[in-house]
């Protein structure tokens, strides 16, 4: 019998941290571009967009659920916000309204997912597979299948640019979202319930806890984070695309699992998710700057994801 001390950064991250360091050191010698500021800004923005979604995904997976609709949420958020901005313009209220509406889209989608999963008893995988397709469809309808360009500059300035002259704003957003995620999961009643439900849903139900309500809130938070990612993406690109965020859900799930969160629920770690996002970001960036032919990228990324997950599951045993 072992007594394990309570550690908020639970788990063993040595493997994944070493992998990140090895890749970073390799790239800094192998490519003159890697250590350049512009490249780091690039990596930072890419990782941030993924990580913001992945933190929400961590919460959802903690309950034993999954949310495949986050990529579609990114697109639908962008499209709705763009259409709103066309009407409202770049005034303070226009931009503030756009941000509120944007987050509202994600919260709404989360509520719909929660309703379908809880009330209609559809397994999360299937429920969000359905809403993923449906909301992608809505994004196509609301944009008429076109890219929506020419958003007000004031909106662009929300996420484009830097804080303190060096740190890209999306990175700041990702840091804030991560801190919120760590706090929710480890310090709050909601996080405790989420872990318990993921560990043994029936036990929590029998205890007389309103599981449906908790899962609903978790999906709403997950949706809200996906929307924030969508807002950041739209603002940075100064355009909304109905096909934006394609496969983002898979990247998010991949980094969550690479970080050591149990896909079956109960055991999860936002810190691991952050490390997973860093690893995936560096690998993607490395493939680009090393000029690996694009046709090979998917294969390499797939192998890296599998390798990280297998290494993680061996360590568990």
């Amino acid at each position: 019998m072992t007594t394990r001390a309570r550690n908020p950064f639970r788990g063993n991250y040595i493997g994944i941290i070493s992998a990140i360091i090895v890749i970073a050191v390799f790239l800094s010698f192998a490519s003159p571009y890697f250590l350049q500021a512009t490249n780091f800004i690039n990596i930072g923005n890419q990782i941030a967009i993924n990580l913001i979604i992945a933190v929400g995904m961590t919460l959802v997976i903690t309950t034993g659920g999954i949310d495949l609709s986050v990529g579609a949420t990114v697109a639908l958020t962008g499209v709705i916000v763009a259409q709103f901005l066309y009407l409202a313009g770049g005034s303070f209220f226009g931009v503030a309204g756009a941000l509120i509406i944007g987050v509202g889209v994600g919260v709404g989608i989360g509520a719909i997912n929660g309703f379908i999963i809880n009330r209609l008893n559809v397994p999360p995988f299937i429920a969000t597979l359905g809403t993923m397709t449906a909301f992608r469809g809505l994004a196509l309808i609301f944009s008429d299948g076109r890219v929506l360009y020419g958003l007000p500059e004031e909106f662009q300035s929300v996420f484009a640019g830097f804080i303190g002259g060096v740190v890209p704003k999306p990175v700041i957003a990702a840091i804030v979202v991560s801190i919120i995620g760590i706090f929710l999961l480890n310090k709050t009643v909601l996080g405790r319930y989420a872990k318990s439900i993921g560990g043994n849903e029936q036990c929590v139900r029998v205890c007389g806890i309103n599981i449906e309500w908790i899962k609903m809130i978790i999906y709403m938070i997950g949706g809200a984070f996906a929307s924030i990612s969508g807002l950041a993406l739209t603002s940075m690109m100064n355009a909304a695309e109905p096909i934006a965020g394609n496969f983002y859900e898979l990247d998010a799930i991949a980094v969550v699992v690479m970080g050591g969160t149990n896909l079956l629920g109960g055991k999860s770690t936002v810190v691991g998710t952050i490390l997973g996002a860093l690893l995936l970001g560096f690998v993607r960036n490395g493939l680009n700057i090393m000029k690996v032919p694009p046709n090979f990228h998917q294969l390499v990324v797939g192998i890296i994801i599998l390798g990280a997950v297998i290494a993680g599951s061996r360590r568990e045993r």
């Binding site: 019998m1 072992t2 310090k187 009643v189 405790r192 318990s196 036990c203 929590v204 007389g208 806890i209």
Partner: protein, 508 residues
């Protein structure tokens, strides 16, 4: 000289984690007979049968089993099957979406050289088997899940027959059958006997045991007490006498508490059991400071009664009153709001979040008490959990251990502490001492008494007669014909309780 036994099990011992489940059991089986095997829950029947089927191995593994005059050890379920020993478990293992033929031939399909199923041949063989079982009315192509339970049972027997066994073990085969279906099953058993096949018949329904069995072996407390022969005449009361034994230890000490006011009342509640039987017109009330015990045989609907009070099972009719006001409980959330707490029989399945710390398991339904603005205050949590754990003589270091690392007794304490912290007014205990060792049993029993002393109302659901007799103030017996009682403490003894459970009449 070799005797006429086809199977002998001699001096079988089996220990589970230090607890002796079988203490030198001997069992003999003749060819072509039906041998009854009876005993209370936990007497060791299932362990013995598992050894016979190769699922468990006895302590001193070999030589103790003699089959057809050959000493051998049964090493695996597959080996047992090859030897002709087959079990028909209570929960039938059939694939309900598949047809009768497919189920009977599952895993041993007849195929042509090209691995194509010889469908017609299998259907013909199935018809023959069904004929032998007096049930040619069953369509070989019917989907098994749509057949009545009794016919499913026959399909399971048919499956065994195809495997060509000569010893069939039937565990509670009549539990889900009507009287008429039972009669038919008995005819089938007699037919099997006449072809030289032996049947071991395990049942709690003693009158059926008396009717069908040629001999009855009685187990108690991991030992074989005696074997009675039908030709000498077997009475049901003899069976009960041997099952119960004489000495009853004070395993379940009683804490005396004065009865307070009535807080909860059931009026004519009806619901369905897992087997689909209707349990009708359950009425009783719970008072502060009182332990109400509801007992009855396994499968009669005790757990389901607990689930009904918790909103986990639909109530068909009747009403529930809390503090004289009618209440509706349609979910555990409502039950919890009314102050009803539940200690499940199934600790691993619904009692605990196994890989979470014990402390967190204790506070899971009281997070409001240890948080401020929805933020958990770890110190407060630790202090609250620690205080209650200390009262229950649970070591501090257990708090940070995962629930699954604790012993059964300590796991049970964790679940009980949860209800203490929650301050539930009514606590429903379902088989609270199942699977925990003797010392922990008496601790839990004392604890239940102490809780009643804190003005809590206790509903004890238990199939362990000594536990019910030991700690209940009022006893009810749930039987297939309804709820018998109330029997105030002291008006029932072990044998009269058993007599009611087994349906030989109320009291003495």
């Amino acid at each position: 000289m070799s005797n006429n036994y086809m199977l002998e099990m001699n001096d079988i011992h089996k220990t589970f984690g230090g607890i002796k489940a079988l203490k030198g059991v001997t069992l003999n089986l003749k060819a072509g007979e039906t041998l009854g095997l009876v005993g209370e829950n936990g007497a060791g029947k299932s362990t013995l049968m598992k050894i016979m089927c190769g699922i468990e191995t006895p302590d001193a593994s070999c030589g103790a089993i003699v089959l057809d005059d050959q000493e051998l050890c049964i090493t695996s379920p597959h080996h047992a099957q090859e030897l002709g020993i087959g079990m028909i478990p209570q929960e039938l293992i059939l694939v309900s979406q598949m047809s009768v033929v497919e189920n009977i031939f599952l895993g041993r399909e007849s195929v042509t050289g090209l691995k194509v199923l010889k469908k017609n041949e299998m259907i013909e063989r199935t018809k023959e088997i069904l004929e032998e079982l007096h049930c040619s009315y069953i369509d070989p192509l019917a989907e098994v899940g749509r057949l009545p339970k009794a016919d499913q049972q026959l399909v399971a027997i048919g499956r065994r027959m195809l495997q060509g066994g000569n010893i069939f073990i039937m565990d509670e085969p009549t539990a889900a059958l009507t009287e008429k279906e039972t009669k038919n099953l008995f005819n089938v058993i007699k037919k099997l006997n006449s072809t030289g096949l032996s049947v071991i018949f395990i049942s709690h329904r003693l009158e059926e045991v008396v009717e069908i069995c040629d001999r009855v072996s009685i187990m108690r407390d991991g030992m074989m007490i005696t074997t009675l022969e039908k030709k000498d005449g077997i009475e049901k009361n003899d069976l009960i006498f041997h099952m119960v034994g004489s000495e009853i230890k004070d395993e379940f000490p009683k804490v005396e508490v004065d009865r307070g006011k009535e807080i909860f009342k059931l009026e004519d509640i009806s619901f369905h059991t897992n087997q689909g039987n209707e349990v009708k017109d359950i009425s009783f009330s719970l008072h502060e400071g009182e332990v109400v015990g509801v007992t009855g045989l396994v499968g009669v609907g005790k757990t389901e009664l607990g689930q009904a009070l918790l909103g986990l099972r639909k109530i068909i009719s009747g009403k529930m009153l809390m503090d004289d006001k009618e209440v509706e409980i349609s979910s555990p959330v409502q039950a919890a709001e009314l102050g009803i707490g539940y200690v499940s029989e199934d600790r691993r399945g619904e009692g605990l979040v196994l890989d979470m710390e014990s402390l967190y398991n204790m506070t899971i339904n009281s997070l409001g008490k240890i948080s401020k603005n929805l933020v958990i205050q770890p110190r407060k949590e630790r202090k609250l959990g620690g205080t209650v754990a200390k009262r229950l003589t649970m070591k501090e270091e257990f708090l940070t251990m995962q629930a699954q690392q604790l012993s059964g007794g300590n796991q049970q304490k964790v679940v009980i502490i949860r209800q203490i912290i929650r301050d539930s007014r009514i606590i429903i205990f379902d088989e609270p001492t199942k699977g925990i060792d003797v010392a922990a049993k008496s601790e839990v029993a004392t604890l239940i008494g102490e809780l009643s002393g804190e003005k809590k109302a206790i509903l004890l659901l238990s199939s362990e007669p000594r536990e019910v007799l030991g700690i209940s103030d009022i006893i009810y017996v749930l039987t297939r014909s309804g709820l018998e009682g109330p029997f105030p403490r002291g008006t029932l003894d072990y044998e009269s309780l058993m007599a009611i459970e087994f349906g030989t009449g109320g009291g003495k």
